[in-house]
């Protein structure tokens, strides 16, 4: 079954077209990595899928149901969760309260506090600490836990490794590895090696458009680099 489907999705900031006609479909349980240079439209695309930014044209479907007109909180209850760039924890609240909010307002399902702590054991000793006092890696783990506890069928993770130490990034990816097979994942990642090692499918955006789509094993480093920097497009325009 198709878990997530984008059909000619466009996104704008005023006159600036940030996302240009992206179409893709993603099977249930698949892991997709989204790469691209800064300003390529990755975060805007995630925000559009999550309902935080309006879709100017096109359609977004989740498990066969069109969700283009749904608000962000309705999409969460339909089974879509975004772990946003910058973590966006409620810093005045404790870690436990951050998780409770996801549990109380998200979709009903198998994920609860106990199962989240099983998947992310590093959160357990932090439960009664204020989220604002955590390290970057701890915040990322809590943000993933908060998204998980809403019981998503599709989990979007935006810039999961940004600003983290290599050890913290290792910890985050070990946690994500435990989720493989439980849900569909879309991960925005600047680190190409991580993205290619983790995902089964990779897409590259450049200037808001889909430049490359394929399995990491089938793509050459040169193809990815060219798509990442939009070299192919530049060559075409020169020709």
């Amino acid at each position: 079954m198709i878990a997530l489907e984008l059909n000619g999705v466009h996104g704008r900031y005023g006159l600036l077209q940030a996302v240009k006609g992206i179409s893709l479909d993603l099977a249930e349980g698949a892991v997709l990595a989204v790469i691209g240079a800064n300003g390529a439209g990755k975060t805007t695309l995630m925000r559009m899928i999550a309902g935080l930014h309006p879709v100017a044209e096109g359609a977004v479907s989740l498990l066969g149901e069109e969700i283009t007109e749904m608000s962000a909180h309705e999409r969460v209850r339909a089974g879509l969760a975004l772990c946003p760039e910058g973590r966006r924890l409620f810093t005045d609240l404790t870690v436990r309260e951050n998780l409770q909010i996801g549990a109380e307002n998200g979709r009903r399902g198998d994920w609860n506090l106990a199962s989240v702590l099983d998947a992310l054991p590093q959160i357990a000793p932090l439960l009664d600490r204020a989220a604002g006092g955590l390290s970057g890696g701890q915040r990322q783990a809590v943000a993933i836990g908060r998204a998980l506890i809403t019981n998503p069928r599709v989990l979007l993770l935006d810039e999961v490794s940004l600003g983290l130490s290599p050890a913290a990034v290792d910890g985050v990816y070990q946690s994500l590895e435990r989720l493989r097979g439980h849900m569909t994942m879309v991960i925005v990642e600047q680190d190409l090696t991580r993205a290619m090692g983790f995902a089964e499918r990779l897409i590259c955006l450049a200037e808001g458009a889909l430049e490359l789509d394929g399995a990491p094993q089938s793509l050459t480093r040169e193809q990815i680099t060219d798509a990442y920097f939009g070299i192919h497009k530049a060559e075409l325009s020169h020709a």
Partner: protein
């Protein structure tokens, strides 16, 4: 002196209830309700109408007025505030200025311009007092009102910290987008917060009508007091609002010892001093309340001394 301090603390409880609704609206909905004082007066007028026209007892009038005010808050948020918030920063301010004018003139048309009080309907409680050692007299009504204020604010604190709705309110106040990503329906939360805020305004108006008089045009002065308590205590913090109300009540009561005319002015002076400290310590005050601002001032001075 001790009597003035006691009176100031008791008065502070009333200011805290008056300010709590304003603080909640701004902290959660990001909406400055300039009609807050007029809503307090409306609450008083509704209670007066229930007592004077329908002949209900004051407790029954209070019990009926508060849900009516909560319903009014919900409806205002649903049909007016939500729409005006979409119009940017200026439209909500203009909307509530218009609402305040409409409320004042509506109450004037409905109830006339006479001063009114609920004091006449609570028997001897209006003037009954306890005599403490040192020939200090403490009015029973202000004590009961202060106790009610503590219970109401304590209950609100419990709702905000121990219930799912409260956690959703705090999450929405902290980061509305992140709250939506957890499945929180911000619209529902905002309507709930507006209902609580307007009910609190109504309770404050009833308090005022019990211990003094109200007219349809009393609202703007109440708004100023509410703003002062909120700014002194820190926006969005219930504990800060209580402390702000107490500080304002104490300032007015102690100012009244110097001269009766200085009573209100002392409160305004305290507000201006706190505002000046907050503006000079913007970053510190963002971290939380007037205590952080004062602490930052002390730390800055200590650092300057060490450098010297």
């Amino acid at each position: 002196m001790l009597e003035s301090i006691i009176q100031g603390i008791l008065l502070g409880g009333y200011y805290a209830v008056l300010a709590a609704g304003l603080s909640l609206m701004f902290g959660v909905v990001r909406f400055i309700n300039l009609a807050h004082g007029d809503m307090a007066v409306l609450g008083a007028m509704i209670a007066l109408w229930l007592v004077q026209v329908l002949g209900l007892g004051v407790p029954w009038a209070i019990a009926l007025t508060l849900p009516m005010m909560a319903a009014l808050g919900w409806l205002l948020q649903r049909f007016i505030f939500e729409r005006s918030l979409k119009g940017g920063f200026l439209i909500p301010i203009l909307t509530t200025i218009g609402l305040a004018a409409a409320l004042q003139n509506g109450m004037f048309a409905a109830f006339g311009s006479d001063t009114r009080s609920l004091g006449a309907y609570i028997g001897g409680l209006s003037w009954a007092s306890w005599q403490l050692p040192g020939n200090i007299f403490v009015g029973k009504l202000p004590v009961y009102m202060f106790a009610t204020a503590l219970v109401v604010l304590g209950a609100l604190h419990l709702v905000l910290t121990r219930t799912g709705f409260g956690r959703a309110v705090r999450a929405t106040a902290s980061d509305p987008e992140a709250a939506a990503l957890c499945g929180v329906d911000a619209i529902r939360v905002h309507r709930g917060a507006a209902a609580i805020a307007v009910a609190l305004a109504g309770l404050a108006g009833i308090f005022l009508a019990l211990r003094a008089q109200v007219t349809p045009f009393s609202g703007p002065m109440l708004l100023i007091f509410a703003f002062e308590a909120v700014v002194i205590g820190g926006i969005g913090s219930l504990r800060g609002t209580l402390l702000g109300g107490l500080a304002l009540g104490l300032a007015q009561s102690l100012g009244g010892m110097i001269s009766p005319q200085f009573s209100l002015l002392a409160g305004h002076c305290l507000f201006l001093v706190i505002l000046a400290v907050r503006m000079s310590q913007g970053a510190a005050s963002e971290r939380g309340g007037w205590r952080a601002a004062l602490m930052a001032t002390v730390l800055n001075r200590a650092q300057m001394r060490r450098r010297a």
